[in-house]
């Protein structure tokens, strides 16, 4: 199992964009099971009005995909020799099917298979479940590494709202 501190050491993402809570099991270079709890305290729910219908609380698909992508990145980077100064970046998705919406209180369970883990590119596939129910099938996640210097990273945390 990898706790959150270890996840943070592997991923360049930071709050509030670390969309992974815990890695339940990992077979390096092969497969991984990771969880992420969806809660109403996440920024995506911050500006919902009291009149929002129940359907408005469906977890954004973009974040669900990103969460799976981060699980795939942990699998790719764990135990590998990744030179400093390179960042993993999601490049292309194929054949991903969202089968059921996800709501606050659900715990996502990503089961990731590393199809190919090269030095510069990787592909992963898998499924996401909530309890016994499969909510998404991920056909192919293609990721690349890019030099950190190519991607400006904010050094201060600022709330852009007035």
């Amino acid at each position: 199992m990898l706790d959150h501190a270890r996840i943070r050491a592997l991923l360049p993402h930071r709050h509030p964009m670390v969309l992974l809570d815990r890695v339940e099991s990992i077979e390096p270079g092969v497969r991984l099971i990771a969880t992420k709890a969806v809660t109403v305290t996440e920024p995506c729910y911050r500006d919902l009005p009291d009149t929002a219908p129940a359907s408005a609380y469906a977890y954004p698909v973009s974040l669900l995909l990103e969460s799976f992508g981060q699980a795939a990145a942990v699998l790719w980077l764990h135990g590998g020799r990744r030179p400093d100064g390179l960042l993993p970046m999601l490049a292309a998705l194929r054949d991903c099917v969202l089968e059921h919406p996800v709501y606050p209180g659900d715990v996502l369970r990503h089961e990731v298979l590393l199809e190919h883990g090269g030095e510069g590119v990787s592909t992963a596939s898998g499924t996401t479940r909530v309890g016994d129910r499969r909510v998404a099938v991920m056909g192919s996640f293609l990721a690349v590494v890019r030099p950190r210097t190519d991607l400006p990273i904010p050094t201060t945390r600022e709330d852009p709202r007035p």
């Binding site: 090269g118 510069g120 590119v121 592909t123 293609l142």
Partner: protein, 82 residues
């Protein structure tokens, strides 16, 4: 024994999948950008699939020269030691 022609046809299948075409629609010399509207992501996808299929590492610096099927075949040949 796998011949160069078989490698080329394997690669044709990979390229066709990425561009969502039938293999017989991918010619040996058609330029990926001009003929199939390729962008850098498609090129990386081809590279990833070729690496996986042939268990080789191809530096991304080679992407610039992988402009058609024969060129992909030539790059792969260098790294696969053909």
């Amino acid at each position: 024994m796998t011949t160069s022609r078989q490698h080329l046809d394997d690669l044709r299948e990979i390229v066709a999948e990425v561009f969502e075409l039938e293999p017989d629609e991918v010619s040996d010399t058609a330029d990926f950008v001009a003929e199939y509207d390729a962008d850098s992501l498609r090129a990386i996808e081809i590279l990833a699939r070729v690496e996986k299929r042939y268990q080789v590492e191809i530096p991304q610096a080679e992407l610039a020269s992988m402009t058609n099927l024969l060129a992909v075949h030539a790059v792969l040949g260098r790294y696969a030691g053909w």
